[in-house]
């Protein structure tokens, strides 16, 4: 088998070559400018940047656009090559949204695993006081550094790799589901879609490369002045995030345009499946906020490379400026992380309660409300930063206000369960677990939101507990629910239900133990981002328990991976509408056909009228049915 026939391989080779060429280019420019050719940081940064662009050229993501720029036409049809095995598609630029969705999904799970490995490594260190594990000489040998510096890097990378995994998982859900749910045969801009997936690959590679280039010690937030002094790994982090951010922006354009322009006949906005509303709200945030993290990172890069003193107080800069710019994106970003998952909960509850989604319109609008209010709260991450003291107060008000639309969702979910006829296959277990865990995230928010209590809580493990609650509840558990639920649609096979239930019953209790442990020691003063803690504080036992819980979570995810891989190959056939869903994607074959719908369907009812006799949502053969 010819490896070079795989775009992924061509991309990697191009990236390596492009990095070398880029480094040479920067050295040449430096010579022309009268500087010594070699300076480690600018040369490598320039090389890596050009290498990433070269990857995109090599994988084939730029080809059609390049042709159009030359005035050449390209084919309108991009069906897979029948000569090549189907798996080839996933290693190449493919324009089918379902392939792209799976590419996103698999990559996101790989990054989830890598982020999880980093966590396992530093959790082993943290399980006891004293620095006993990460100072092992093997780390020094492999990486050139160890001990506290290595902890700081693993901790920082765990955060950002997980964030990248989340953004990719959201890309997976949006891309696989949205066209199917609105009755389209693909997204509006398939080439842009493929680009938006593939840019994550060099992005992730650059990000993880930071580990091998000295690491970085700032946490994923990268505050200056510390980030201005960090090793070269800092630059790899900044660039890696930049590429992943580009993916968010490009991908969101597709969601927005497709939803507004490509819905099936009869599908008014308030007759769309609720997940589409969630995706749309998410896309609005991605489109408008992501630029700010790109900007704040660019400024750090420019300050490091060219000495521009944006954040250096001794030269007229202001370190707090960075925090405002950074959090202006990074707060809305957390709503990007959770809105799709909350949409999954809303989507699945009616199916497994056999009842309408309670207050559908209110839920739809609440996603938009959360997205909007989410733009006005960012400085609640900065209450102790030394920002203008009075300015903190309106941010406190806005922060607490987010509870209103979020509450609407919780109450509506309860309304959907109440007096239903509930069944509990694996997806439903994960949905119920999501609600409980996200609720914990929601109720642990207000103590952070009122400024005076935040003065105690900021930078402690309480915050770590809070955000793991919101992330596991709003993304991780719903993501697993979505994978289990749509697995038959994607593969035409059924996952193993027993293993799925074991996954849940390991992961949910373990997570509860982990998060409660974190919050308890956080309240007692356990600080974040520290490799070691004073044994006199009495945290050793709880830290040990947290580590064990984390390992159980990791193991449960490995079990999930085994289940999915094995079932995709040898699972039982699951071809029909196995969940009895009213949603359009379940009215066609599994796996979903190449172009989704042979003919456009027509919306003739409400999406969630479970229990209403003789009601259908979509007419798959409009024009031929008797009551047409």
């Amino acid at each position: 088998m010819n490896l070079l026939s795989l775009g992924f391989v061509r991309g990697l080779i191009s990236q390596i070559l492009g990095t070398v060429v880029g480094m040479a280019f920067i050295m040449a420019v430096r010579l022309l400018a009268g500087l010594p050719a070699w300076n480690r940081e600018p040369v490598i940064v320039g090389g890596v940047l050009i290498g990433a662009i070269a990857f995109m050229a090599g994988v084939g993501a730029l080809g059609d656009w390049y042709k159009w720029a030359k005035g050449e036409k390209t084919s309108d049809h991009h069906d897979p090559d029948p000569e090549k095995p189907n798996w080839h598609r996933y290693f190449n630029v493919d324009l089918d949204h379902k392939v792209i969705g799976i590419q996103y999904g698999v990559t996101s799970l790989l990054l989830l695993g890598i982020g999880g490995i980093f966590a396992v490594l530093f959790r082993i260190e943290l399980s006891q006081s004293g620095i006993t594990f990460l100072n092992n000489p093997i780390f020094e040998t492999l990486l050139g550094y160890s001990g506290p510096d290595l902890y700081n890097t693993f901790m920082s990378l765990h955060g950002i790799v997980m964030i990248a995994a989340i953004l990719l998982g959201i890309g997976a859900m949006q891309n696989y589901l949205v066209p199917l749910l609105i009755g389209a045969n693909d997204m509006a801009f398939p080439r842009l879609n493929a680009f938006a997936f593939w840019i994550n690959v060099p992005g992730a590679l650059v990000l993880v490369s930071s580990l091998f280039l000295g690491g970085f010690d700032t946490g994923w937030v990268g505050y200056p002045p510390l980030s201005l002094r960090a090793p070269l790994g800092m630059q790899m982090f900044l660039m890696g995030v930049y590429f992943v951010g580009l993916s968010s922006i490009a991908g969101s354009i597709n969601v927005i345009v497709s939803v507004f322009k490509m819905r099936a006949p009869g599908m008014t906005l308030f007759k769309m499946p609720i997940f589409v509303w969630a995706s749309l709200a998410t896309a609005f945030i991605q489109l408008t906020a992501t630029q700010l993290i790109g900007l704040s990172f660019q400024l750090i890069m420019l300050e490091r490379l060219l000495g521009m003193p944006f954040f250096d107080a001794t030269l007229g800069g202001d370190p707090i400026l960075y925090q405002h710019l950074f959090w202006f994106y990074s707060h809305p970003a957390v709503y990007v992380f959770v809105l799709p998952g909350l949409g999954v909960i809303s989507e699945l509850l009616p199916v497994f309660s056999r009842k309408p989604l309670f207050g559908y319109k209110w839920i739809a609008v609440s996603s938009m409300g959360i997205a909007l209010v989410g733009f006005f709260v960012w400085a609640h991450h900065m209450f102790t930063s030394g920002m203008s003291p009075y300015l903190r107060v309106p941010f406190m008000y806005a922060t607490l206000l987010v509870a209103i639309p979020t509450g609407v969702k919780f109450f509506s979910w309860v309304g959907t369960l109440w007096r239903g006829k509930l069944v509990f296959p694996t997806p439903m277990l994960f949905v119920l677990g999501s609600i409980v865990i996200f609720l914990m995230g929601g109720v642990t928010g207000p103590p952070n939101g009122t400024i005076s209590t935040d003065l105690h809580l900021h930078d402690t493990y309480w915050v770590v507990g809070h955000f793991h609650d919101t992330i596991f509840g709003g993304y991780i558990f719903p993501f697993f629910a979505a994978i289990y639920y749509w697995f038959p649609k994607i593969t035409g096979k059924m996952y193993n239900e027993t293993l799925g239930k074991i996954h849940f019953w390991l992961m949910f209790p373990a997570f509860m133990i982990m998060t409660i442990g974190q919050m308890l020691i956080g309240l007692l003063g356990m600080r974040r981002r520290i490799v070691d803690y004073d044994p006199a504080l009495g945290f050793d036992d709880t830290q040990y328990i947290i580590t064990v819980a984390g390992l159980v979570i990791f193991a449960s995810v490995l079990l999930f991976a085994y289940n999915i891989i094995r079932s995709a190959r040898r699972g039982e056939a699951a071809e029909g509408n196995i969940w009895g869903s009213r949603s359009p994607e379940w009215q066609i074959a599994s796996p979903a056909p190449l172009h989704n719908y042979a003919q456009p369907f027509k919306v003739v009812g409400e999406p969630y009228d479970y229990g209403l006799p003789d009601s259908t949502y979509v007419d798959m053969n409009p024009g031929t049915s008797a009551d047409g």
Partner: protein
């Protein structure tokens, strides 16, 4: 309907149990500041809110999972309820009211925590990778933060390199420490309420040794604080030199000369080994013990011909033992 009544009772019971058994005092470190009093009060309110909202949702969910599950072989759908407009308004407006209430008490809590005492004692705090230094108003520099109990201290925080953060959990407040000189100095006000030993640990990632960047904090009585501060003004010179400085600083030399002349009290020149006669006729030889007693209990041995009750009787409260010994050494050195 009956389900609603049962669930409501369960929610109330659950809220009550949660709120009663989850107590602020058990969750937080010992409270040691006035600021902490306000903050812990607000934490208490938060606990009740958490108790209620967690119970509300989880009890309804668990009840549904048990009571509304599909029985084996049961067919059909759940109740056809698409929504309830009035309910939506109720569960939008009531949370809105709660949110506004919380924001208002959050704002007043902040005002209470940041209330300024114009008589606050000022300590400059200098943070750097990876240590803390404290400078008092009289110029004393210390690596231990000693604070007087019951009096507000205004900490003026500055960093010389990266962002750090000053945090003592028992005081309940923290403040980031910024580089950039006086323009980026940030204040933190703490009024201790409990004597004891605490630690300040850096709470903003600041590099390799962030985890161990700490300093001792001692809250002591006002008297002990004054003694400590005075003792800290001393020096790392020889005992005799330090004694001379202290004698200068605390006014001894205003009454006792070192050149043999008499001003108010006996001159110190050449007193070592001489014999003193007191008002009552008893005698003593001048040595270290004699001098110690002269400083700590002057009226017990007034030299004949000199006035009693002129020398301050409270040097044990003003001077540390070390300072007294240094002054003694200085006097003994005056040949």
């Amino acid at each position: 309907m009956i389900h609603i009544i049962i669930v409501s009772v369960l929610v109330i019971v659950s809220t009550f149990l949660f709120g009663t058994f989850v107590k602020v005092e058990n969750l937080l470190p010992v409270q040691a500041s006035v600021q902490g009093e306000f903050i812990d009060g607000l934490f208490g309110i938060h606990i009740w809110l958490i108790a209620f909202f967690f119970s509300l949702i989880v009890v309804f969910m668990l009840y549904s999972v048990v009571v509304f599950r599909r029985r084996k072989g049961e067919k059909g759908s759940g109740a056809y309820m698409t929504g309830n407009h009035n309910l939506e308004i109720v569960w939008t407006v009531i949370p809105l009211v709660i949110v506004l209430y919380l924001a208002v008490i959050g704002a007043t809590s902040l005002a209470d925590v940041e209330r300024r005492d114009p008589e606050a004692m000022v300590v400059d705090v200098f943070a750097s990778q990876w240590n803390w230094r404290f400078e008092y108003e009289d110029g004393t520099s210390s690596d231990v933060l000693v604070l007087p109990n019951g009096r507000q201290t205004l900490l003026r925080l500055q960093s010389s390199d990266v962002i750090h953060s000053f945090f003592v959990p028992e005081f309940r407040v923290k403040q980031d420490v910024l580089p950039g000189g006086e323009a980026f100095m940030r204040e933190l006000r703490i009024t201790p309420t409990l004597e004891g030993d605490f630690k300040v640990r850096c709470a903003e990632i600041c590099g390799q040794l962030h985890y161990s960047m700490l300093a001792n904090v001692q809250v002591v009585s006002t008297n002990e604080f004054d003694i400590w501060l005075n003792s800290q003004s001393a020096c790392d010179l020889s005992a005799e030199e330090c004694g001379q400085l202290a004698a200068q600083q605390y006014g001894c030399l205003a009454c006792h000369t070192v050149d043999g002349s008499v001003v108010v009290g006996p001159s110190w020149l050449g007193v070592t080994g001489t014999e003193r006669t007191f008002e009552d006729g008893s005698t003593a030889t001048v040595d270290a013990d004699y001098l110690l007693k002269s400083i700590t209990d002057p009226d017990s041995q007034v030299v004949a011909g000199f006035p009693a009750s002129v020398m301050p009787q409270n040097f044990t409260e003003i001077l540390s033992e070390e300072q007294i010994q240094q002054i003694t050494a200085f006097i003994l050195s005056l040949e």
